[in-house]
Amino acid sequence: MKKIAFILLLMSLTTAQGQINVSDNLISDQLQNTDSMPEHSQDKYVGLYIAELPKYQGSSDMRTELAVDVRHEWSNGILLSVNSWKPYDTYQLGKHLSSVQNMDYGVLLGMGLNRASYITESDGNANKDWMPFAGGFFKYKLSEDIQFNSELLYYFGRFRGGAYADLNVIKSFPVNDHQTIALSAGTTLGNHDFSTTQYGISEAQSIQYGYPAYSPSAGVEDVHMGVTWHWNFNSSWMLNSSIYASHLAGNVNGTRQVQDANNGSLLVGLAYRF
């Protein structure tokens, strides 16, 4: 099984051609405390999806591709998470600092891909670049079915100074013992450095690609909502589906690289719990 998980990870590296910021991990959007696991145990999911995604957020070009997500939690609080379709925080390694009944927070380290990585030269860019980050997450469960999830990241390297936040509220509706439908709504925020590196076009780039220069402002990057449907067939196999829509806010959507401020995506796939 470990080999298969490894192969899936490799595939996630090579197959990701489109990106959408589907905000939450498809397989476990429910808060699960690490202190509720037996000592020296783990919980691991690997999901493989067929996805209809925009080539990049703001693109009107859609892609059909295989997508992967992996979530691995250890009882000591370490977590590993991979979402091949998430742009800015694709690979995450983290640790729960506190994970008791209603509240769960911790630190994250990881890498995402620069938005420009998905934009071809003819569309005005070709700089594929990894964005390493450090940050944290905070989850709060208001009731059995309403939860607040957030993530705050700070970028390093070429993207130093960029800060990004993703805030979401999730309401779940149990259909029966094995099916749940979850609605989520949220927003992503970026500071000036972040929005400039992801959406800005400098004078130099403007001359190189013939696109008008653009300087976005800090604040709300997008608002988004999604519907996720989980269906467990047994304790190992589940079918996950998600429809997701996002709108790029006026702060960042003025560039010609944003052809369509509204994006939609669809993911359907099977996940296995090890």
Binding site: I4, Q32, N33, D35, S36, M37, P38, E39, H40, S41, D43, L48, I50, E52, S60, D61, M62, R63, T64, E65, L66, V100, Q101, N102, L142, S143, E144, I146, N176, D177, H178, N232, F233, N234, S235, S236, W237, L239, G264, L266, V268, G269, L270, Y272, R273, F274
Partner: protein, 270 residues
């Protein structure tokens, strides 16, 4: 796993081309692809289900089930709860949702690769939950020999019964408060405005001559009325004899005397 690989190859042949669209009208044209995708998924999952169920025993085939890991993570929170809980018990419960059915012959078992445990149910459908790391690691299932249209799984807090049948009213009030505080800790939004109003004693149908009396200032009241009802307030299975005691400010120092041991005592909130 073989099935997954098969599904992958199907997808590759169906979706190996790039799809582009520029407007909403084109989006509609893409729906058949989504439909194709969905039908492939359904076929795959059906075959995996058939695969997974091949090893099941006949009795539990098609029966209701839940993941042991999910249950474990819910049940352990009571063990780790640091608030007062000495009057409480926490159980996994098989509840009847089909009124025409009954708990007679219903069996609960814990099944994993190596773990096979029969978990006895009490007449209220509750079982003692075994905390087993082995079953967690095996990703075992809790299974019932009834369909999920007939039964469902619940996690229930109830008040422990006493063999001598003698309950201090102050203790019952404390027990109700403990239950409420634990439930608030689990689901703040739902229980934050609720208050304890009383307790319910549930007896089996075959328990005759039930008598529950209030003793206050050395005076014994008449027996409280016995009605037909459910163990927990929101059950829809009413095949029990129940006696409700509502808290009053005056009788706080009294006692409740039950001539028979009830199946369960539950807290009542309003």
């Amino acid at each position: 796993m073989r099935i997954m690989v098969l599904c992958l190859s199907v997808w590759h042949t169906v979706f190996s081309r790039r799809i582009e669209y520029r407007n909403a009208v084109m989006m509609i044209k893409n729906f058949p692809i989504i439909a194709r995708c969905l039908s492939t998924m359904v076929l795959c999952t059906l075959s995996t289900m058939a695969f997974a169920q091949a090893g099941d025993t006949v009795e539990f085939k098609d029966g209701a089930w839940i993941s042991y890991r999910d249950s474990y993570r819910k049940m352990i929170s009571f063990e780790k709860y640091s608030g007062a809980k000495q009057f409480l018990q926490n159980n996994i419960r098989v509840a009847i949702i089909d009124k025409k059915s009954s708990l007679d012959g219903v069996r609960l078992s814990l099944d994993g690769k190596k773990t096979h445990l029969n978990l006895p149910l009490d007449p209220a459908g509750r079982a003692v939950f075994p905390m087993l790391k082995a079953a967690y690691d095996e990703n075992a299932e809790l299974r019932v020999n009834r369909k999920d249209s007939v039964v469902k799984f619940e996690y229930r807090i109830s008040i422990t019964t006493r063999p001598d049948g003698l309950y201090e009213i102050a203790d019952l009030r404390a027990a109700c408060d403990q239950a409420l505080h634990y439930l608030r800790y689990q689901d703040f939004l739902h229980y934050s405005l609720k208050q304890c109003v009383g307790v319910k004693f549930a007896y089996g149908r075959d328990q005759n001559e039930i008598s529950l009396k209030v003793k206050y200032n050395d005076q014994l009241s008449a027996a409280l009325p016995v009605a037909e009802g459910s163990v927990f307030p929101d059950d829809n299975y009413n095949a029990f004899k129940v006696v409700v005691y509502k808290f009053t400010a005056s009788a706080e120092s009294g006692q409740i005397i039950s001539n028979d041991v009830p199946l369960a005592i539950t807290a009542l909130f309003e």
